[in-house]
Symmetry: C2
Subunit: 122 residues, 2 copies
């Protein structure tokens, strides 16, 4: 259908890892993998940057696109790298800039993990 | 329909706070509220305890029900209190024990926040 080049997909452990939280108690390994993702979003600045990337045109952004969260460009870069290390963003260099993109599979897995809990607990 | 007594519902800021992450960049206040919740789940032991409560019969549990995550009872209590402070659990004392229960509205809001991102980014 399309010739759009897709960024290589990372497949962090969480994608395959975790059933809904209310299905059964998580194992230590599962919790270790999933906690990394939640921790990455557990910082207000990182969360704002993540939402800046996610809501940017085309679902991707470079440091050059993000300047209004009140931190310096090196700090923005530092946090984007942390989000990438946690598997929540992928990146691709184009010329001078590195472009970051949200990882839909990982986010869908995190969302499902919580959604199951929310649904069953009602 | 039912006479079941419902635990008092907390309504932490996140419930009303946050649109899907890809809708627009989060404000500082929104990020502050949502990051607290993610941070609470960003610790492997807390995440295991949370899943132990969520998957326990009836969606609630006391410290007395949770003994297999490899930490002492005071540590379990400490983490459950942190999850409560973040708005993810509510609690009720019955006799000797405090019973903890998942907060479905908060989890649904967190799940929706991520689900929007996952969907739009595909």
């Amino acid at each position: 259908m399309s010739n759009v080049k897709v960024l290589p997909l990372l497949e962090p452990d969480v994608v395959a890892c975790c059933p809904p939280l209310n299905e059964r108690p998580m194992s230590a390994d599962e919790a270790e993998a999933a906690a990394k993702m939640f921790k990455a979003l557990g910082d207000p600045v990182r969360l704002r940057l993540f939402s800046a990337v996610a809501s940017h045109e085309g679902g991707e952004a470079c440091v050059c696109d993000i300047s209004d969260v009140g931190v310096s460009q090196p700090t923005v870069s530092h946090h984007l790298k942390k989000l990438k290390a946690a598997g929540l963003l992928s990146s691709e260099r184009r010329g001078t800039w590195v472009y970051y993109r949200v990882q839909p599979a990982v986010l869908a897995a995190m969302s499902a993990l919580l959604a199951g809990t929310a649904k069953e607990a009602v």
